[in-house]
C-alpha cells in the first residue's frame, strides 16, 4: 500500500513542476497587447488634426512601389486643405530607414493626399512619420505598419 502512495506523491510532484513550467513560459511570452499601435486613423501628436493612412488600392504588397492616401481632418472634422507634408520612416528594430523616399504627390480633395513611392521590402515592423503644416499649425503623426 505504501508504495502506491509514493507513486501518487511523485505524480503530484511532477504535475506541480509542470504547472510551474507552463506558468513561467506563459508569463515570459510576448503578449499581443504590447505590440505597436496599428490603428490606421489617429489624432496627430498635438491633437491639431485627425490623420488616416490607407493603401490606395486597399492591400499592402511587399516589395512593390505603392501609393497610399493620407486623409487629414481638423479636430472638428473639416477637411484640411493646402497642407505641406513631409514623409520619413524606417524599421525601428533594424535601425534603418525606408528603402524609398515617399512624397505627397497629389491633393485629391476632401483632405485626401496621395503619398506615392511607398515600398516595404521586408516583413516586420515599419514606421511612417508625417510632418504636417497647414493653416491650423504644424503637427506630426506616426503610423505603425506590421507585415
Amino acid at each position: 500500500m505504501a508504495s502506491i502512495w509514493r507513486y501518487i506523491l511523485a505524480g503530484l510532484g511532477l504535475a506541480a513542476l509542470l504547472v510551474g513550467i507552463v506558468a513561467v513560459v506563459y508569463l515570459t511570452l510576448p503578449h499581443s497587447a504590447s505590440g505597436p499601435d496599428l490603428s490606421r486613423s489617429k489624432k496627430t501628436a498635438n491633437g491639431l488634426f485627425v490623420a488616416s493612412f490607407e493603401p490606395e488600392r486597399g492591400v499592402i504588397r511587399q516589395g512593390e512601389l505603392q501609393s497610399w492616401l493620407l486623409t487629414l481632418k481638423t479636430a472638428a472634422g473639416a477637411p484640411v486643405e493646402g497642407a505641406a507634408i513631409t514623409v520619413s520612416g524606417g524599421m525601428p528594430q533594424h535601425n534603418h530607414g525606408l528603402p524609398t523616399s515617399p512624397q505627397a504627390t497629389d491633393y485629391l480633395g476632401e483632405g485626401r493626399y496621395r503619398i506615392d513611392g511607398v515600398k516595404f521590402t521586408m516583413s516586420g515592423w515599419w514606421q511612417l512619420h508625417f510632418g504636417i503644416s497647414a493653416a491650423a499649425g504644424s503637427d506630426s503623426v506616426v503610423f505603425n505598419i506590421v507585415l
Partner: protein
C-alpha cells in the same frame, strides 16, 4: 504501465514537443513565399517598346555573344556573363579589356530588378546593357563606333526592328561623351542632331540586348519541390525530401539567422541596398557602393527620365522616389539572389569570400563596417548551425 511512467511520458511530450520536427504555420507561410511557383509573370517594360519583340531579342542575343562589340574585337557581354556558368565568370572581379573592381552578377531573373549593378547605378536593363560597352575596363568601345558597326554588320536586321538607320556618312569613326580625350573632342564637335542620331542607335542596342536578357529566368530546384510538397501537404519524395541538416538550415534561414529579412520572395532578394559590413579589398579603388551610384543614375542620359525612354513617365517611380542621401546608403550594395549561389563562388561585390562557409561566418560574426553602419548584428551561430545553413543554401542549386 504505472501511473508514474504515464506522468513522466506526459511531461516529456509537453516539454519536448511531439512527433516529427515540423514547421509552424508562420514558417510554412514564409517557406511558401520563397518557392519559385510564387514568382509572378514578368511585367512588360514600357520604357522599352521592343522588350518583348522576338526579332529584337534575337538581335540582342547576337550582340550579347559578339566580340565585335568591343574595342579590339575580343570582349562580348558573354565574356563575363558565361552562358554555361549562370551568366557569370567565377572570378572575384570581372576581367574584360582590363580588370574591373566588381564581381560579375549572374543573370537569372535579371529583368525583374528595379536597379542594376551591385550599386544600382542604372535603372533599366537596357540602360545597364549600354554601360559595359563604353567602360574602358570592359568592352572599351565608343557609341559612334558601335553605330557604324551596327550599320555595317546588322543594318538590315536593325532596320526591320527599329526603322531607318540615320545617315552616318559624316559621323566620326570614334566619338563618345565618355571616351578618351580625342573621342570626347570628336563628340563635342558633332552637331546636336547627329549626337542624337547616334544616341538613338546606341539606346536601341541596349533595348535589343535587354529583350534577349528577359528570357533568362531562374529554374526550379530541390528547395522548390520541397516547398510545394510542404504547401500541399504531400510527403516530399526522392530529392524533394530535405535532410534533417537541410531542414535545420531552412529553419535558421527563416528564423534565428534572419537571412530571410533581406533574402526574401521567390528570388531570395528584396532588390534593395544594404550595408552588411563586407570589408573592402586591398588594392582596389575606394568603393562606397550605393551612395556614389545615386548621382551616376541621375546623370545617365539613358535613365528613365531621359528622352530615350519609350512609354510615359509613370514607369519612372523607382528613380523618382529613390533614396538620394543619408547614412544608410554608405557602402550599401544590392541584395543578390541566392538561387544557384552555391555553385558560383566567390561571393560579395568584389569576391571577398571564397566559400559559403566564409559568407555565413561573416554574418554570424557581423563585424562593423569600415564606413557607414552595418545593418547586421552578431548571431553567434554554432559550427553545426553554420554548416546547416550552408547545407540549406545548396538546396537552391540542385
Amino acid at each position: 504501465m504505472s501511473v508514474a511512467c504515464l506522468v513522466a511520458l506526459a511531461a516529456l511530450a509537453l516539454l519536448g514537443g511531439c512527433g516529427e520536427p515540423q514547421f509552424s504555420d508562420a514558417e510554412k507561410k514564409t517557406i511558401a513565399s520563397l518557392a519559385l511557383n510564387t514568382l509572378p509573370s514578368l511585367k512588360p517594360d514600357t520604357t522599352n517598346q521592343y522588350a518583348d519583340v522576338p526579332a529584337a531579342a534575337a538581335l540582342g542575343s547576337t550582340l550579347f555573344f559578339d566580340a565585335g562589340m568591343s574595342r579590339g574585337g575580343t570582349v562580348s557581354c558573354s565574356t563575363c556573363h558565361k552562358i554555361d556558368r549562370q551568366f557569370q565568370d567565377d572570378l572575384p572581379q570581372a576581367v574584360g579589356v582590363g580588370r574591373t573592381n566588381r564581381r560579375t552578377m549572374p543573370l537569372a531573373g535579371v529583368a525583374r530588378n528595379p536597379w542594376f549593378f551591385w550599386d544600382g547605378r542604372r535603372d533599366s536593363l537596357w540602360a545597364q546593357a549600354l554601360t559595359p560597352l563604353e567602360n574602358p575596363l570592359e568592352q572599351a568601345g565608343n557609341r559612334a563606333a558601335f553605330a557604324h558597326y551596327i550599320k555595317k554588320r546588322f543594318g538590315e536586321r536593325y532596320e526591320r526592328i527599329f526603322g531607318r538607320l540615320p545617315d552616318l556618312s559624316t559621323a566620326p569613326a570614334n566619338a563618345s561623351p565618355l571616351g578618351s580625350d580625342a573621342e570626347k573632342a570628336a563628340w563635342n564637335a558633332m552637331p546636336a542632331s547627329q549626337q542624337d542620331d547616334i544616341n538613338r542607335v546606341y539606346a536601341n542596342i541596349g533595348k535589343a540586348i535587354a529583350a534577349f536578357e528577359r528570357s533568362i529566368e531562374p529554374e526550379q530546384t530541390r528547395f522548390d519541390r520541397f516547398a510545394i510538397d510542404l504547401a500541399t501537404g504531400a510527403k516530399p519524395e526522392g530529392d524533394a525530401a530535405l535532410s534533417p541538416e537541410e531542414i535545420l538550415g531552412l529553419k535558421l534561414f527563416i528564423g534565428k539567422a534572419n537571412c530571410v529579412t533581406c533574402h526574401n520572395g521567390p528570388r531570395f532578394t528584396d532588390g534593395a541596398f544594404h550595408n552588411t559590413g563586407v570589408p573592402p579589398v586591398d588594392g582596389l579603388p575606394p568603393d562606397r557602393g550605393r551612395v556614389d551610384a545615386v548621382a551616376q543614375v541621375q546623370a545617365d542620359p539613358f535613365n528613365c527620365l531621359g528622352k530615350f525612354r519609350d512609354g510615359d513617365e509613370s514607369a519612372c517611380r523607382e528613380l523618382r522616389f529613390m533614396v538620394k542621401d543619408g547614412p544608410q546608403i554608405m557602402r550599401a550594395y544590392k541584395t543578390p539572389s541566392l538561387r544557384g549561389a552555391a555553385d558560383r563562388p566567390p561571393y560579395m561585390h568584389a569576391g571577398q569570400f571564397s566559400t559559403l562557409d566564409e559568407v555565413v561566418a561573416h554574418y554570424s560574426k557581423a563585424p562593423p563596417s569600415v564606413e557607414g553602419v552595418s545593418e547586421v548584428h552578431p548571431l553567434d551561430l554554432s559550427d553545426r548551425e553554420r554548416a546547416a545553413l550552408v547545407a540549406f543554401l545548396k538546396t537552391l542549386s540542385d
